[in-house]
């Protein structure tokens, strides 16, 4: 139990870099990031203005990394960061930020505020100001292997169940397979059908794939809480297992931050590129489809829409694939307002779902999604992130809206040709 303000400040000094300095030099306090952030638009509370969430980091940059800031420090003109201040900022940096990236897209001077929140969490976490829920989820991931405490036997039970269901064998620890799949624990527990869908699709498409008993957990609460050392340890499990099995690709599942952790942050966390490529399940499905290996039959007749998971679409670049895939299986596909890279968050990403302290705020923020859905009048909402699904279902239930939520991979699997 050795978190301390000293460690926190040291971490903040360590993560400071040219981009952050350029961002703090450019912010003109125009307030547009607030207009882009659902935590402000749904609460109208100015303290949720994204750039304001970085005030302590800005003060540290000013004091420690600018000439006149340093002079001010010598002359005692500026107050140092206090532990109370970091404590006060914890709800802003964690509860009211899902790292969705919308503010970074809106900022007229181009400040990547999401990047800075991610960096500020490096200091907040070791200063002991991460939310309780996220700390315990991180501990479970490190000690047990998954934020929801899923161990190998639980996975094996699900594998047997899905093998019975689909009549197909789900390969595990197959040396030299082309693809290695990893799953988010939410998929293992809440949406086991995803695993069955994989089996069916890969069987149909003749894809050589495997799971790994040593690394089946895709989520990475390390990057959500903002502790890169912990994130490294988590992502290294997947890398070691994949390189041991000598697979060519690792499939990132229907989980937002898992894709960001594995695809974009992983190599920088472990300090080297992988010996395999990372592909999101939707990217793979899209490849199989264009290779003619993913024939589907029949279409959903009821009106449906697609909720873009932020980490996958805006922060991941997988924008067109879901639309192409949905085109095959839906007759009445209606885009939400602000679709694609301008999407509005489900309110639960970036660790907010694991943070009970943020529940009430999250449900308030969900009104943005409610407004979008009310405008659309759809029956089903398809998405591609297990955490989004849970958060959307939770929100829809809270506002008793009868819109059903389904995963895109599952949907595709249901429409496979026999």
């Amino acid at each position: 139990m050795s978190a301390s303000l000293q460690k926190g400040l040291n971490a903040l000094r360590e993560v400071m870099d040219a981009p952050i300095a350029s961002f703090f030099s450019s912010c003109v306090h125009c307030g547009m990031c607030a207009d882009a952030c659902l935590f402000f638009t749904e609460t109208h509370d100015p303290k949720y203005t994204p750039i304001h969430k970085l005030e302590p980091l800005r003060r540290l940059w000013k004091r420690d990394y600018t000439l006149f800031g340093r002079l001010g420090k010598l002359l005692g003109l500026s107050k140092p960061l206090s532990d109370e201040e970091l404590a006060q900022w914890s709800p802003l940096v964690y509860d009211s930020c899902t790292l969705c990236g919308r503010c970074s897209l809106a900022c007229p001077v181009g400040n990547d505020i999401t990047y800075m929140v991610r960096k500020m969490r490096e200091g907040m976490s070791v200063a002991g100001h991460a939310p309780e829920g996220m700390i315990s989820a991180t501990k479970r991931t490190i000690e047990i292997g998954s934020p929801m405490g899923v161990k190998l036997p639980a996975l094996q039970a699900q594998i047997r169940a899905q093998e019975k269901e689909t009549g197909l064998t789900i390969p595990i620890d197959v040396q030299g397979a082309d693809y290695m799949a990893v799953l988010s624990s939410m998929e293992i527990i809440n949406f086991p059908e995803y695993l069955g869908a994989l089996a069916k699709i890969f069987h149909k498409a003749g894809v050589s794939w495997t799971l790994s008993s040593e690394a089946f957990e895709a989520t990475n609460s390390g990057i959500q809480i903002g502790a890169s050392d912990i994130a490294r340890e988590i992502v290294l499990r997947i890398v070691t297992a994949a390189e041991k099995l000598r697979v060519k690709h690792v499939i990132s599942p229907e989980c937002g931050h898992a894709f960001t952790a594995l695809r974009w942050e992983g190599p920088n966390l472990i300090g080297r590129p992988y010996h395999f490529s990372v592909v999101h399940i939707l990217e793979l499905l899209d490849e199989l489809r264009s290779a003619g290996k993913l024939k589907t039959v029949g279409k959903e007749d009821k009106p449906l829409t697609f909720h873009d998971p932020c980490q996958l679409v805006r922060r991941g670049g997988v924008v067109q694939q879901p639309r192409t895939l949905l085109g095959d299986v839906a007759t009445d596909f209606r885009e939400m307002s602000d679709p694609g890279i301008l999407n509005w968050c489900c309110g639960g990403g970036g660790g907010v779902s694991a943070n009970e302290r943020a529940d009430e705020l999250r449900l308030t923020a969900f009104k943005r999604k409610k407004t979008q859905l009310d405008e659309l009048g759809v029956h089903t909402m398809v998405t591609a992130c297990a955490n989004c699904r849970i958060m959307l279902e939770d929100g829809l239930e809270h506002y008793n809206m009868n819109v059903s939520v389904v995963g895109l991979t599952e949907l595709i699997a249901n429409h496979l040709e026999e």
Partner: protein, 361 residues
């Protein structure tokens, strides 16, 4: 001679009343007063005393004297000229040497306290004003001495008004305007390099007619002639307003009489009557002849940047200052860069691998 009224002089010369009326009308215009003032001018001229005038020339180029004398050879103004008794003027006086000095002493003694002292040229003050000495006496002394008995002083030309060319950087002789030395006498500044002849006579006529100073601006210049800027009364102003500028001295714009701002005209900040009274009996003035105004009736116009650079440009090149800025930035920049790198390296060094135990206090 000095106590006769002007009217005595005129009647002695057998001037008719119509002639006197014509004279007053001309004088009113000369003084840039509204024509309706002609009767008031006539009133004043009736009892105007003929003041004695002493003209002292110090560090000057005789341009002002030439401006006043040459251009008004035997004309109506000469009458005014005759009306004042110019008792001493170094260039014009026939006498020379000690006789000239005696003439000046005599003039000052005779009309002590009543004569009008005209000065052209700035006064050297460095090392006691030794750099401009006439007959063993520095201009500084001569000025103080002459000013003591003067009723009023008229500084003719930018040199005596504001220091002019001798005062320009580096000002080796410590040249200063008259107003820097004489503090206890009313001074009328009639700047210009040289001033417009009509303006000099206008100011003299005003003093001769009303015996008081005309209304002066904050630089001691008669508002009648220096109240408005050249730019305000310039006939090319519409072109300035429309943004039509001559690019070179003989391009299409210049031939069309467009505004000369781009060619360095300082009209906007120069107060003088050139645009209305004009030069050489209303023939023309610098801008009308196609050359920008130099701003010659303003203080320090010699040091106000090139005559051919626009008013909006810096007076001296800023490259030196830019250099200093860059050099200082490099020095401070490298310093803070090293400090930043060491702070960051230091933080990296103190990094202890974070485990789940480090997440709580």
């Amino acid at each position: 001679m000095a106590d006769e009224t002007l009217l005595d002089v005129l009647t002695k010369r057998g001037i008719s009343r119509r002639a006197f009326l014509k004279f007053c009308a001309a004088a009113t215009s000369l003084m840039a007063l509204p024509p309706s003032m002609a009767s008031a001018v006539a009133e004043a001229l009736m009892q105007a005393r003929r003041p004695s005038v002493i003209w002292l020339s110090f560090q000057e180029c005789t341009g002002c004297t030439e401006s006043l004398t040459r251009s008004h050879s035997p004309t109506l103004e000469s009458l005014i000229f005759d009306a004042i008794s110019l008792d001493y003027h170094e260039t014009l006086i026939a006498a020379a040497g000690s006789a000239a000095e005696a003439a000046r002493e005599n003039a000052m003694k005779e009309a002590y306290g009543k004569y009008l002292l005209l000065v052209d040229g700035s006064v050297s003050t460095k090392d006691g004003g030794i750099y401009s000495t006439v007959a063993g006496k520095t201009n500084l002394e001569t000025l103080k001495e002459a000013a003591a008995g003067a009723a009023a002083i008229v500084a003719v030309g930018t040199c005596s008004s504001f220091g002019g060319l001798p005062h320009a950087n580096p000002n080796p002789t410590g040249a200063v305007p008259v107003s820097d030395i004489i503090k206890n006498k009313p001074i009328i500044n009639v700047p210009g390099c040289p001033p417009i002849p009509v303006v000099i006579t206008g100011v003299l006529t005003y003093y001769l007619t009303f015996g008081t100073l005309p209304e002066l601006d904050d630089l001691g210049r008669p508002k009648a002639f220096y109240g408005e800027s050249i730019h305000d009364r310039c006939y090319r102003r519409p072109f300035y307003d429309q943004g039509k500028f001559a690019k070179s001295f003989d391009d299409e714009g210049a031939r069309n009489g467009w505004c000369l701002f781009e060619l360095g005209c300082k009209g906007p900040i120069t107060h003088n009557a050139c645009a209305t009274t004009k030069w050489n009996q209303g023939t023309s003035f610098p801008i009308q002849s196609g050359h920008g105004c130099l701003g010659c009736s303003e203080p320090n116009f010699w040091d106000a940047g090139s005559f051919y650079q626009a008013l909006s440009t810096p007076i001296q090149p800023v490259t030196a200052a830019l250099g200093i800025g860059v050099a200082a930035a490099a020095a401070a920049g490298i310093g803070v860069a090293l400090a930043n790198r060491s702070t960051k390296a230091d933080a990296k060094a103190h990094h202890q691998t974070v485990t789940t135990n480090d997440l709580e206090k």
